[in-house]
């Protein structure tokens, strides 16, 4: 049962435009959400996060929006740059069995075209 879903396996965007990556989740107990970025042959690196008590968090060109009623979050990258081309993983965490457990989505491959 995939609790965190990224329905778009890939996305292509022109340089300078906005990239919007989407993520849906089913578990209402998730209380913290994160985005990770992964280049080929490297491990994922943390990008940005948001607590469930907020609906927006911004860090430079990256903004994450959370819509709890729709169980949906999105990552906006403005303006998109060729160096942003990577696989982006959405992740959600909750306490389960006394531990903070993180569940990852399937990833979206972003290609920014120069």
């Amino acid at each position: 049962d995939q609790q965190v879903k990224q329905n778009s396996p890939s996305l292509s965007v022109q340089e300078g435009r906005i990239s919007i990556l989407n993520c849906d989740y089913t578990n209402s107990m998730f209380d913290y959400f994160l985005w990770y970025k992964k280049y080929p042959a490297e491990g994922p690196t943390f990008l940005i996060s948001i607590s469930s008590i907020k609906d927006k968090n911004e860090d430079g060109r990256f903004t994450v929006f959370l819509n709890k009623s729709a169980k949906h979050l999105s990552l906006h990258i403005v303006p998109s740059q060729p160096g942003d081309s990577a696989v982006y993983f959405c992740a959600a965490s909750s306490y389960s069995g006394g531990y903070q457990k993180v569940t990852f989505g399937t990833g979206t491959k972003l290609q920014v075209i120069p």
Binding site: Y32, E42, G43, P44, F46, S49, Y99, G107
Partner: protein, 118 residues
Amino acid sequence: DVKVTQSSRYLVKRTGEKVFLECVQDMDHENMFWYRQDPGLGLRLIYFSYDVKMKEKGDIPEGYSVSREKKERFSLILESASTNQTSMYLCASSLDPGLAGGPTDTQYFGPGTRLTVL
């Protein structure tokens, strides 16, 4: 900077072999994790450990075991490798949220080990 290192970048083994994947972190993190990444399936948690000698099953523990004898080192063991265990294996570590006083779920990943089982 947190550094998580994995013993091998690429590994080729034969069916039935015992395989050890080693992971070391240098930031005194309490939590350590093993994931595998497969196309279309994302990152799936195999095992995690929140303290030395402690381990917990993740979502797909079958066919794997782990060992954490020292805080900085977390080993993944494939007792008898099979072809369906061909994958990218990623190790990660994180700080205990309780000690940091907040939701510090950020995980720091190693570069991964591409394991091929023939």
